[in-house]
């Protein structure tokens, strides 16, 4: 009995242990879905002098207690809001905006830089409806920016890329393309179609 090899550890219960752990992680897992609409709040200190904005450059959207929409003093359905917002932003009334495709109506906004969307809601407005409206308005901006990106992209070498894809590519670490150039295009589009959305809550 001189040499006896150490007895092998019984690994039969290994599977059970692993299963226990597996079930624990299965139960605790929440596949994170952190996404949302990013907004910037206006800073607290109000500037003293009132900025004078022409009425025609403001696109008012009011959501009432019953979640109904009043857009530019007319009742509107949520489905039509995006088209109306696009038409307003892309109007280019004073002719200074050479990339606008709007109808150039004198009584609507001057150019995308001056156009402001004013979103008003009441305390009883539901959050769901508010998000729906926000979503449509952001959608309107994105639609215009996407269209512009498809026009500007090819000359800088970014063919068939809309604005959303450009931003995605810009954030993507693995993307091999020229990021400084892409940033230029993105910044230019952002400047041409700035998101000017003011939010007011009426008591």
């Amino acid at each position: 009995m001189a040499k006896r090899s150490a007895p092998e550890v019984n690994a039969g219960s290994m599977a059970d242990i692993a299963f226990l752990l597996l079930i624990f992680f299965l139960v605790t897992t929440t596949m994170e879905k952190d996404s949302g609409i990013t907004r910037k709040l206006p800073p607290m200190e109000e500037s003293e002098e009132d900025v004078i904005i022409k009425q025609k450059n403001i696109f008012t959207v009011l959501i009432n207690n019953k979640d109904q929409l009043l857009v530019e003093d007319e009742i509107m359905e949520l489905e039509d809001l995006r088209t109306a917002a696009v038409a307003f932003l892309d109007n280019g009334g004073d002719g200074s905006c050479d990339y606008c495709n709007g109808v150039r109506d004198e009584s609507s906004s001057d150019n995308p830089d001056k156009a402001i969307i004013s979103l008003k809601n009441l305390r009883e407005t539901s959050y769901a409806q508010y998000i729906s409206v926000q979503n449509e308005l952001v959608g309107a901006y994105n639609e215009l920016r996407n269209k512009r990106a498809l026009q500007l992209g090819p000359s800088s070498g970014f063919r068939d890329m809309n604005f959303i894809e450009m931003q995605k590519k810009y954030k993507d670490v693995k993307w091999p393309g020229n990021k400084t150039k892409l940033k230029e295009v993105i910044d230019r589009i952002k400047l041409e179609y700035p998101q000017k959305l003011s939010e007011v809550q009426e008591q």
Partner: protein, 159 residues
């Protein structure tokens, strides 16, 4: 010598389960890596609205969460009106400033300007509460906010 009895011939050989632990471990590792432990136990109902223009929140560690919604069935005694939840407990609107301050204190100083506040508000809530939260956030100069929403069509919001 019947000590080493031979098995009966008719039996099917057992399936070899030696690789079972390996398979289970593989799954285990996947879930371990993919898991994000829930930071807060929710005491409120939190059904997020749908939106299709959502952006992903990039840096998880630079996000502060404010939850709001009506108390869940276990906390009926708190009423049916939508409430705010910070960390693990119900809070009132004026506690938000303190919450933001403590969140900021827990982050490195140079990262503080990049903090985003994620508003996880139940879609049943009304805008009065959200407006109060926003006003409070403006007071403490936490201006970057994100309305948490699930990617999807907005028409689902009204159901």
């Amino acid at each position: 010598m019947s000590k080493f009895k031979k098995k009966k011939g008719g039996d099917l050989p057992a399936v070899n389960t030696a690789s079972l632990p390996d398979i289970v471990f593989m799954l285990l590792f996947f879930f371990m890596v993919a898991t994000v432990m829930r930071e807060n136990t929710l005491k409120i109902e939190n059904k997020l609205p749908n939106a299709d223009q959502v952006e992903k929140l990039e840096k998880k560690d630079l996000v502060m969460y404010i939850y709001a919604g009506k108390p869940s069935s276990n906390y009926k005694k708190m009423g049916t009106e939508a409430r705010i939840q910070l960390n693990d407990d119900f809070a009132s609107v004026d506690e938000i400033a303190a919450f933001i301050a403590s969140e900021r204190a827990s982050k490195r100083e140079e990262l503080v300007p990049f903090l985003t506040t994620s508003l996880k508000v139940d879609k049943e809530a009304n805008m009065g509460l959200v407006g109060d939260i926003k006003q409070e956030l403006r007071k403490v100069n936490a201006l970057k906010i994100n309305y948490a929403a699930i990617p999807g069509d907005v028409s689902k919001n009204n159901q």
